[in-house]
């Protein structure tokens, strides 16, 4: 089975659907480009993440559910941890953690204080099995946990488990608890499985079925399983219609749960998981504590959500905005007064605190424990925000210049000049250091400074041929860099479909289409989310062998291998485990 080259097929189903979306929102556009033909993605089997698990439990069983779980993070693929969910294995010790989490959730659900609200029926006898009540409860929560209705046999099996427990322990609720615990361990709960249907009006083509589409939308936009309304739309078939899908997407974009979804995405994209172990040298930065690090992460996420989700402003302006939020934990490093809690804060016009790069999250995360690093900051900007690859240092790199015992570098600029004057270093450092120098007015914890070791700091530099004098100029250069919005588009598109799509001309065309749409929407996040969620590419499924026919990969390289290579830098933009933090 082959499909025609992308340029020959412009059926525009996604565009029709998008038109419905625009009608639903009351937006009218003039001429809009059509979505190119794409093959879609392989069917995914994604392992749930910690946040997805917690978000789903709290939606299903209430915000009061206490869960202190931390499942192991995945490796990074194409810049995101979430992109590896379709590859990650599950070790025995991890399953043990899932079991412990399941036991914790189940015991809280049947707790006498909670059962009144969470269990919709009462047994005839609390000391015996009750098939009717167990069936009512387990089939209703099972639908939310499995993201689809349970089959009769599945319900019967869990009801039987509840009865086994009730009989053995002489306690209906204990039986229900252990049946729920088992359900929470089910592969249908822990893995998000794409199930596939033929496309009705396109012979030989496949798409995710209605329930899998509900899950794709829900994990993309909310980072949690579908709610009852979305499952209803899947059950009725409405979700498979253009109007129905548009209605569902608009409802999800308008929901407060979008905040959870976008916090998860940006936390992943900005590599904020590193905050869990970020530590500064207490003798050099005595005011930077673990709570400072967590507050720095929160400040940036609040800024992003307020700017993009609440205010619906341009993504580009996030890098020049002076508006943020402040809390006393950070105010000591920003050297400003701040009342308790989180309050809106706008930096003064003469301040160099301009945009995300000058927030403590970026400055402290990409620095050494005891000093700043133009190299680490430059590399992070390239890789995290511009999706550009910076090669790791060669194994035989000559460090003799830096090891010169007579060398004395009062400022970081002096140090990195040593890099740039050494041919073996200069190739890579030229693409990192001149950017990072623009942030040298901020030390390793993110505090503003004018001098280093008594020498005035020169924070001038250049980004892709655009010179700047200081952090303000760098912010503007980043804002205007064409790679900035393209990087977000690429990250968000792959994230939405559970990982990189097969390489080929159709992927290029799809990214080009999304980039154009994003630009036309003046770089507003909602529009990009809508365009992706309504696209054919989002729901289309390709079989692996079909995907292979369309790629330029060698015949012995599978798509999976390609994706794995992409993760390790053999093809794409990430490095192998253990290779992080190797730079300067």
């Amino acid at each position: 089975m082959r499909i025609s080259p992308p340029e020959q097929q412009q059926n525009g189903c996604g565009s029709v659907r998008r038109l419905f979306a625009l009608l639903v929102t009351g937006v009218v556009l003039g001429c809009s480009p059509q979505e190119p033909e794409t093959r879609g993605t392989e069917p995914r089997v994604r392992l749930v993440t910690t946040d997805q698990y917690v978000n789903s439990m709290r939606y299903i069983f209430g915000a009061g559910i206490e869960l202190r779980v931390e499942f192991p993070p995945f490796e990074r693929t194409e810049g995101l941890l979430g992109n590896s969910a379709a590859f990650a294995g599950i070790s025995s010790s991890q399953l043990e953690q899932f079991q412990a989490a399941a036991a914790s959730v189940a015991s809280q659900v049947v707790d006498p204080a909670n059962r009144e609200f969470l269990i919709p029926c009462k047994p005839a006898d609390e000391h015996a099995a009750d098939t009717a009540c167990a069936t009512e409860f387990l089939s209703s929560v099972g639908r939310l946990l499995y993201r689809r209705p349970l089959s009769g046999a599945e319900v019967e099996q869990f009801v039987d488990s509840a009865a086994t427990g009730a009989d053995t322990l002489n306690d209906f609720y204990a039986g229900l608890e252990l049946a729920l615990e088992a359900m929470l361990l089910s592969p249908d709960v822990l893995f998000i499985v794409d199930r596939v249907d033929p496309e009705p009006d396109r012979f030989g083509h496949l798409r995710v079925d209605a329930y899998s589409l509900a899950s794709r939308l829900s994990y993309f936009l909310w980072n949690a399983g579908p709610d009852a309304e979305l499952l209803d739309a899947a059950a009725s078939g409405e979700l498979l219609t253009d109007e129905g899908r548009a209605r569902a997407v608009e409802r999800m974009l308008a929901s407060p749960r979008l905040v959870d979804g976008m916090r998860a995405f940006f936390d992943d994209m900005f590599r904020f998981s590193k905050f869990k172990t970020l530590a500064k040298d207490p003798t050099i930065y005595p005011q930077f504590r673990n709570t400072t690090a967590m507050a720095a992460r929160e400040q940036t996420l609040r800024t992003v959500i307020d700017h993009l989700v609440t205010e619906k402003k341009s993504y580009l302006d996030l890098y020049t905005t002076r508006s943020t939020f402040m809390t006393p934990e950070l105010a000591t490093v920003y050297e400003i007064p701040s009342p308790p809690g989180w309050v809106p804060y706008t930096a003064t016009p003469d301040s160099q605190r301009v945009g995300l790069l000058t927030q403590i999250s970026f400055l402290a995360l990409h620095a050494h424990p005891g000093r700043s690093s133009a190299t680490l900051r430059g590399a992070a900007l390239r890789e995290t925000l511009l999706c550009q690859e910076v090669p790791p240092p060669p194994p035989n790199v000559d460090f003799s210049v830096l090891n010169n015992p007579d060398a004395h570098y009062p400022t970081q600029r002096d140090r990195v000049i040593a890099h740039l004057e050494t041919p073996s270093c200069a190739g890579c450092h030229l693409i990192m250091d001149p950017i990072g120098l623009g942030l040298e007015n901020f030390d390793g914890e993110g505090r503003f400074r004018l001098v280093e070791n008594g020498v005035p700091i020169d924070a001038s530099g250049e980004l892709d041929g655009i010179p700047f004098e200081d952090a303000t100029g760098l912010a503007e250069a980043v804002r205007d860099n064409p790679a900035l919005p393209k990087c977000l588009v690429k990250r968000l598109y792959y994230y939405s479909v559970g990982g990189p799509t097969p390489p080929g001309t159709d992927r290029f065309a799809m990214l080009k289409y999304l980039n154009r749409e994003f630009a036309e929407g003046e770089y507003r996040l909602h529009d990009l989310l809508r365009t992706i969620a309504m696209s054919d590419a989002f729901s289309r499924i390709t079989q692996p062998e079909e995907a292979m026919q369309q790629t330029s990969l060698p015949p012995n390289v599978t798509i999976r291998q390609f994706a794995l290579n992409t993760r390790t830098g053999a093809v794409g933009d990430d490095r192998a485990p253990g290779e992080e933090n190797q730079r300067e």
Binding site: P72, A88, G89, D160, A163, A182, I284, N396
Partner: protein, 443 residues
């Protein structure tokens, strides 16, 4: 079995076993020479790994003398208290086998997998190989911990996509090992927990569902679901284990729970404190026979340890600190190595705090300790070191310094596998393949 009969059988089992079994507390737990339980069961030999980052500097690390009573150069001066329990293998050479040197990665992967990686982890690590055999007798087939505070600091992998994540919080680790689910082998009475019985029973339904899912997914995903299936079987085995009366073990004396986790800092003292806390828990888990395989990562391969007041973390220091021409080495890089070796000595010593028969737990342990490079400043895999500790139930001599004469570190790994009973003709691939045991250390 239909559902009704399954319920009846379970209830019947419960009624039959709920009677507590009084155990003779004052019985001698071990036989006279301490090599077996009172019941005659042989004391188990446990396998432990220890990993740290960034090697050392040969001139101040490697002893000049070989065999027993080797000298202790400055970087390993702290070994004095454990030297007679430690074998040091110097002059190992990890062979890249034509692959590019992936800095701070290729070296440790060779020591743990036996193969130079082209990109990702090439297969299971040595502890996983052993966990598949000797790990089956205990509640946990293996346990993995780190002192770094980071769940991803692990040298233990099932495959490239499945690391064994590290326990990093002493509090959480204590709860897992000795919390409400802990089955004290020395408890005066034993009664199987009926909830565990039900858990084990209902798990069979989940296992059936998994079989259904295996039929519907592609080959690559099927392998992952298979792995999940194995995990379910492992859970089932753990439940079964908790329903079985354990042998009394004199050395199993868990301490109280830690009051709090240490601070999350990467400064050496914080990491060493966390290391001591995790080690103490690990030693007791081995003493209580909760596991026979244990992995500890003191630091990552690109170690991020901090020396308070010194601006560069360990890894950066190894590359940027000038060599002191008078001393002949990088003083701060060496400072980090010395602290790491102190932690190693702490680690080995911790096994001697538990009595087992006439000796200590260390007599029934084999520790395999590795690093990622020979000389960190240049990333070379020449002059790498590997250590072992413990007598492995009397099979291994200790206190020796051995020149490996540029053999691959897999020579030590293969010997360890043989000592632990893995019947393998060889271990490793290409130029790292080893098929001869190091007889010098065998009794």
């Amino acid at each position: 079995m239909n559902k009704l009969s399954r319920r009846r059988v379970l209830k019947g089992m419960l009624n039959g076993s709920a009677v507590s079994v009084a155990l003779p507390l004052l019985d001698c737990f071990l036989n006279d020479n301490g090599t077996a339980f009172a019941s005659g069961v042989q004391m188990p030999v446990r396998f432990v790994t220890w990993g740290y980052g960034l090697g050392g500097t040969t001139s101040v690390f490697v002893p000049k003398t070989f065999g027993p009573n080797y000298d202790l150069p400055p970087e390993i001066a702290s070994w004095e208290r454990v030297r007679d329990q430690v074998n040091l293998f110097s002059n190992c050479r990890g062979d890249l086998d034509g692959t590019s040197n992936r800095c701070h990665y290729s070296g440790w992967v060779i020591t743990r997998c036996g193969t130079a990686p082209t990109d990702r982890i090439p297969g299971e690590t040595i502890d996983t190989t052993l966990a598949r055999t000797i790990g089956k007798a205990t509640q946990y087939s293996s346990l993995t911990a780190t002192a770094t505070g980071n769940v991803t600091s692990t040298y233990s992998f099932v495959n490239a996509d499945t690391p064994n994540p590290a326990e990093w919080s002493p509090l959480n680790f204590y709860t897992r090992l000795f919390g409400p689910g802990f089955q004290d082998p020395n408890a005066p009475e034993f009664s199987p927990d009926p909830r565990i019985m039900v858990r084990k029973s209902v798990l069979s339904g989940v296992i059936d569902q998994t079989k259904q899912l295996q039929k519907t997914v592609g080959a690559a995903d099927r392998a992952r679901i298979d792995q999940y299936f194995t995990g379910l079987r492992e859970l089932e085995r753990q439940f079964e284990h908790r329903l079985t009366k354990p042998e009394p073990i004199a050395g199993c004396q868990p301490h109280d729970a830690p009051m709090a986790d240490p601070s999350m800092g990467s400064d050496v003292e914080s990491v060493k404190l966390r290391h001591r806390m995790m080690t103490e828990l690990m030693v007791m888990a081995l003493a209580c026979d909760q596991t026979r395989i244990f992995n500890m990562a003191f630091s990552d391969a690109s170690s991020g340890l901090i020396k308070p007041g010194y601006e560069k973390p360990h890894h950066t220091c190894t590359h940027e600190e000038p060599v002191d021409t008078e001393l002949g080495y990088q003083p701060n890089a060496s400072w980090f190595t010395r602290r790491s070796m102190e932690a190693w000595a702490d680690f080995v010593e911790a096994f001697t705090t538990v009595r087992e028969g006439d000796g200590t737990l260390l007599d029934n342990v084999l520790v395999y300790a590795t690093t990622d490079v020979g000389y960190a400043r240049t990333h070379v895999l020449d002059e790498m070191v590997v250590f072992t500790a413990g007598r492995a139930g009397g099979k291994v001599k200790t206190g020796l310094h051995i020149d490996l004469q540029e053999k691959s570190p897999t020579a030590v790994g293969y010997t360890a596998l043989q000592v632990m009973g893995a019947d393998l003709p060889s271990w490793g691939t290409g130029n790292n393949e080893s098929s001869e045991v190091l007889h010098e250390i065998l009794v």
